[in-house]
């Protein structure tokens, strides 16, 4: 039925002309705006949350001479992990003997990676030398049979002494921790021992993303940049 016919019928029924009144449906504009606003707030909150998570993941403070262990291959990582795990034994042997143990003693004590029988084949060719500064010690390792491997230095520092070799943070984070260990690598597979200052000789300090120190901004850590002038005693090895 058309609209005109319906009006005519209604006029006839009412006995005269009638006024047409258009009744609009309820206005949904406000609800629509409200909904859009709510969606906008949710999207904004999600975005902010995403940004904050992303920022947390990337919040690592690396020094120019530091590199993440993530970039090491499996073999390098195995050596890196083995070196860091030696600290307990190095500390115990130092307490026992009054000086840092030389690499040969660590080998004798069956401590990897110094003990060749406790590392995979491709790490057995490494030769280790010891440089004892009395308050810290450096073990330098290189593989004379390979031109592919890094040179490595394991530096173990007595934190309960006044001087920490550069660039170790001057502050101790855990008063119960007496010894700290650092692993440094150099691309030259047979790099000569450089002395205390490793960074200026092109060595890089391998750090793990798990290291809580990397989550603190550099200015929160007082780095000592002086040198001690101490001369190491080369101990053990072929002299």
């Amino acid at each position: 039925m058309s609209r005109k016919i319906r009006i005519a019928q209604a006029q006839a029924a009412a006995g005269g002309p009638i006024r047409e009144v258009v009744v609009h449906p309820l206005d949904a504009r406000r609800e629509t705006l409200g909904l859009l606003l709510a969606v906008g707030v949710i999207v904004l909150a999600m975005g902010l949350r995403f940004l904050s998570l992303a920022a947390n993941e990337e919040q690592l403070y690396l020094r120019p001479y530091q590199r993440l262990s993530d970039g090491l291959n499996d073999s390098q990582r195995t050596l890196y992990r083995s070196l860091l795990a030696t600290v307990q034994d190095i500390g115990a042997l130092r307490d026992q003997n009054g000086f840092f143990p030389e690499a040969e003693l660590l080998e004798y004590e069956m401590i990897p990676p110094f003990a060749k029988s406790l590392v995979p084949k491709d790490l057995q060719g490494f030769v280790w030398e010891t440089y004892d500064y009395s308050t810290w010690v450096d073990y330098i390792g290189y593989n004379p049979d390979s031109d592919q491997d890094f040179s490595y230095i394991l530096r173990v520092i007595d934190l309960h002494t006044d001087y920490h070799p550069s660039p170790h943070p001057g502050a101790d984070y855990d008063p119960n921790q007496r010894l700290a260990a650092q692993v440094w690598v150099h691309r030259d597979p047979q790099r000569a021992y450089p002395g205390e200052r490793l960074a200026i000789d092109g060595w890089t300090w391998v750090v793990d993303a798990n290291d809580p120190m990397l989550q603190k901004p550099p200015d929160a850590r007082a780095f000592k940049q002086t040198t001690s002038g101490q001369q190491p005693v080369k101990r053990g090895g072929e002299e």
Binding site: R81, L84, L118, P120
Partner: protein, 312 residues
């Protein structure tokens, strides 16, 4: 004469009585002094702490012996295990997430937490997802306890922290930790003595569990494909197809599975790829015993040696 003897006898008796009383009081004190209680969230930590502390501390597992830490849901009865603890050893890398709500519920949020993974190098996980899916997810492998080398570093960390809780016995804990680590290294040495004699380039390894990467790395073995990158996630058909494709591409001939892993996926892959299947323990179940970690790791190492030998 008689009087002086009587005086002497009374004096000696009084002294003896004093000594006996003092001795028994000291013994009573020793007996009654409560030992520090150390909670542990994972099975390996139980073995480690027990081997460090001997009888100087009580070691309290938080979850039941046969509960899987990945699927464990805290129960009110287990909250009682948190009572009276001096500290708790936690993984804190995502392997024991259940402990946070438990500590909160028990009002023990300030309980000293010993984190063995402090300073331990972790393996980054690149979650290998099929083409077209988001490949940007990165995480760190929380199974650092499935390794002798990382294990010894963590044992040293725990011993150090326990020494700060009980300084009188700090040397004892350190000595025990060293001696235990020596025993564990002997296991590694035995396995390496065999593996280093073999041509490991013939072993192309796939695994259903990325947690084995730590132990395989320290044996000089590489994993070419991980089938199930995270616990509790069953591969969908597309991922399964992708995995089979990757194993075929990598030409893997060894497949390490979990002892309790659902074999249906493994069987499909084995049938499709021809990989030989070997089971490794995740060391996350069974009765809590001092030698659990040692025994399971020795078995794991022997299984790995056997698998590599079969490829020669």
């Amino acid at each position: 004469m008689r009087r002086s003897f009587a005086r002497w006898a009374v004096g000696v008796s009084a002294l003896a009585l004093c000594l006996i009383l003092a001795g028994s009081a000291a013994a009573q004190d020793e007996e009654e002094a409560p030992k520090p209680r150390i909670g542990v969230t994972l099975h390996p930590y139980y073995s480690w702490v027990r081997n460090i502390v001997g009888d100087k501390m009580d070691v309290v597992p938080i979850i039941p012996a046969n509960a899987d830490p990945h699927s464990y849901q805290p129960r009110p009865v287990d909250l009682a295990n948190l009572k009276g603890l001096s500290a708790i050893v936690v993984n804190n890398l995502g392997h024991d997430e259940f402990i946070k709500p438990m500590l909160k519920s028990a009002g023990q949020e300030n309980l000293k937490q010993i984190e063995p993974n402090r300073g331990v190098p972790l393996i980054k996980i690149h979650i290998d997802v099929p083409e077209g899916e988001d490949a940007s997810q990165v995480a760190y492998n929380s199974h650092s306890y499935l390794s002798i080398t990382s294990g010894t570093q963590q044992i040293a960390n725990i011993a150090q922290d326990l020494g700060s809780i009980d300084p009188d016995n700090a040397d004892f804990y350190r000595a025990n930790a060293r001696s235990y680590s020596k025993r564990l290294r002997r296991l590694l040495g035995n396995a390496l003595a065999e593996i280093n004699k073999m041509d490991t380039s013939k072993a192309s390894i796939a695994s259903v569990h990325d947690g084995y990467s730590y132990i395989l790395q320290e044996l000089g073995l590489n994993v070419v494909a991980v089938i199930q990158p995270r616990h509790g996630i069953e591969p969908n058909p597309r991922q399964l197809q992708d995995t089979i494709k990757r194993i075929k591409t990598a030409n893997a001939n060894i497949l390490f599975t979990e002892l309790d892993y659902d074999k249906k996926y493994v069987d499909i892959i084995t049938a499709e790829t021809g990989c030989k299947l070997y089971s490794l323990s995740h060391v996350s179940g069974g009765e809590y015993t001092d030698d659990l970690f040692e025994a399971k790791m020795e078995k794991n190492l022997n299984t790995i040696v056997e698998a590599v030998r079969d490829t020669q």
